[in-house]
């Protein structure tokens, strides 16, 4: 499990939406391999029937009254958008 191939690293980089060069893929394969090998030590522990902790507080669902509230106005929302047109966010072509 600990060994990561360059192909696996490229697949993970794609899932993470990171462009990656051949050299980087090689470097990350080694580094991630070392970290996952280190993480193998958790297998020493028997965790049968141990509940996972996602969160330390005893919270279940936090609900509020379903009351409409005013959001931010469009001009404010668009303040940091680099490319926009007619109050809309603009992106490059989705399909080739």
């Amino acid at each position: 499990m600990a060994e990561l191939t360059k192909e696996e690293v490229k697949h993970v980089a794609h899932l993470a939406r990171l462009a990656i060069t051949e050299e980087e893929a090689e470097k990350f394969a080694l580094q991630l391999g070392a970290i996952t090998e280190f993480a193998e030590q958790l297998k020493e522990l028997d965790t049968t029937n141990v509940e996972p902790t996602t969160h330390v507080l005893p919270l279940v669902n936090v609900l509020r009254e379903d009351v409409a509230a005013k959001g931010l106005d469009r001009e404010t929302m668009m303040l940091n958008v680099k490319e926009q047109e007619a109050g809309q966010v603009k992106v490059p072509a989705i399909m080739d």
Binding site: L18, A19, L32, K43, T47, N80, V81, E83
Partner: protein, 487 residues
């Protein structure tokens, strides 16, 4: 010397007797930044114009309407959003980002009448423990400019230690408030998970992150924590529990206090000076009526692997929002939308951030989820239970905050035992979610050492009471770095 060698209480006395105004205090902060920040390099952005205008307005408010922190200057870590003041998380991917709202803690600072001086450097997205991972600059330790201030809230600790500001906010995911506080000889508190709203804190690992105060003494720290605490409708993980008057807990009385000292905290890799400073502190606490016993937190050795998997998994999800479309850096000359995402993220994130995103994505992907992510969550339960058991029998847990004082900039800590000790002293506390403080407890070759005091869930009051009693009996917190002299 500076006005900021004084406590909040002493500063308020000066203001009330009209010896100084809030405008003077604000000016003092910017003067100190002017004099010292060329060396320390703590600030990424300054709020001079607005802060100066705010100070003049605050000076008009009648004394009887002012609280204990009214008019006092504060620096804010750059992963806490501030409306209209650039917030970058020390990352290139957020260069130029101008937040459109204030974090809940920033609103609370304003309600308390505090004046935000500027934004403080950090390791990129809070990933690192030296501030060397900032995309902009490396903050220096005010006690020795060739050494790191710690991290990730390194500049938050350095700015307070340098007397540029008397208060700052940091955030702590695996030790990021406590370790820099120890390295810089100041007081840093990581509150109980849920004590302080995370709304407006740029998320790294949501189940571990917590904002907390950094100050030069315990009482100021207690005052600032009270000001920023409380349940918040904008953070569903903020806890609906009473916010006590923490400063009222500073009675000086710790008779009968039961202290646990985990043997794992004083094991291999912890330096002789750090070990001795803890034993000396225990003697001080004993002389004040406390008792201590050695205990064990047997799952400590698994904390680092658990932390790396869980924090990276959460980070890979949280950092997916940085795609170049709605804010921050956007790559140019791209072919299509997918290419825009990939190029923006590849050019915008630093190496350490990429590594953790990759590790997290891998841990969460099909085929590895059960072996890594779920397993780590189960081990987290075992680590939390270690703390629950000890804290059922003892009032506080005490140990060093870090195994050594601050290391040199560029120096790679190669001794694996020291690296290991570095992590097990702070990381398990975030996994368990309990509160912990670091306070000054000695020096090694002129560099500060930190004492860590850990308490039960939502019992920051006891931590403050112990920290304050210790502080009153010692004078480590009164010492200032040489950089103060003549400035």
């Amino acid at each position: 010397m500076t006005l900021f060698e004084r406590s909040a209480k002493e500063l308020q006395e000066l203001v009330h007797s009209k010896e100084v105004s809030i405008a003077d205090l604000t000016k003092e902060a910017f003067d100190r930044v002017e004099k010292l920040d060329g060396d320390v390099e703590a600030f990424l952005a300054l709020n001079k114009e607005k802060a100066t205008a705010t100070a003049a307005e605050l000076d008009e408010v009648p004394f009887e309407e002012r609280g204990p922190l009214f008019g006092l200057p504060i620096g804010v870590k750059d992963n806490i959003v501030t409306e209209g003041l650039e917030t970058t998380c020390a990352s290139k991917i957020l260069k130029g980002f101008n937040p459109i709202y204030d974090a809940t803690v920033v609103k609370k600072l304003r309600e308390a009448g505090m004046v935000t001086i500027g934004k403080l450097n950090m390791d990129e997205f809070a990933m690192g423990s030296s501030n060397e991972n900032s995309a902009y600059k490396t903050t220096k330790n005010p006690w020795a400019l060739d050494r790191v201030p710690g991290g990730s809230s390194g500049a938050s600790a350095a700015a307070v230690a340098a007397g540029e500001v008397p208060f700052s906010l940091g955030s702590d995911t695996g030790g990021s408030i406590r370790q820099p506080a120890a390295y810089c000889g100041v007081v840093g508190m990581k509150p109980t998970y849920g004590r302080v709203s995370r709304s407006g804190l740029v998320a790294f690992a949501s189940s571990l992150d917590q904002i907390g105060p950094i100050t030069r003494n315990v009482e100021d720290n207690a005052l600032l924590l009270e000001a920023i605490s409380g349940v918040d409708p904008l953070d569903s993980t903020s806890a609906d529990v009473e916010v006590p008057n923490f400063a009222a807990a500073l009675t000086g009385d710790i008779k009968g206090l039961r202290i646990a000292v985990p043997k794992e905290y004083l094991g291999e890799g912890v330096g002789e000076a750090a070990r001795e400073s803890v034993h000396a502190a225990l003697k001080v606490l004993e002389s004040l009526g406390a008792t201590w016993e050695e205990v064990s937190l047997p799952h400590s050795k698994y904390a680092l692997a658990t932390y790396y998997i869980l924090s990276s998994s959460e980070a890979s999800s949280n950092l997916s929002r940085f795609d170049g479309i709605r804010y921050g850096f956007r790559a140019e000359n791209v072919e299509n939308l997918m290419d825009l995402y990939k190029q923006t993220r590849a050019q915008g994130f630093g190496d350490e951030v990429k590594r953790r995103i990759m590790l997290g994505t891998y841990s969460l992907s099909a085929g590895t989820y059960d072996a890594y992510y779920k397993k780590a969550q189960q081990v987290r339960t075992l680590i939390k239970e270690d703390y629950d058991k000890v804290l059922a029998e003892y009032d506080v847990i005490i140990g060093p905050t870090a195994p050594t004082p601050a290391f040199k900039i560029g120096e790679i800590v190669e001794d694996p035992l020291t690296m290991y000790a570095n992590d097990i002293l702070t990381i398990p506390i975030n996994l368990a979610g309990v509160p912990a403080i670091s306070i000054p407890c000695g020096f090694e070759n002129g560099m500060p050492l930190g004492l860590q005091i850990i308490g039960n869930y939502f019992d920051e009051s006891t931590i403050y009471r112990v920290a304050h009693a210790y502080e009153q009996a010692t004078d480590f917190h009164k010492q200032t770095p040489q950089i103060w002299e003549g400035k």
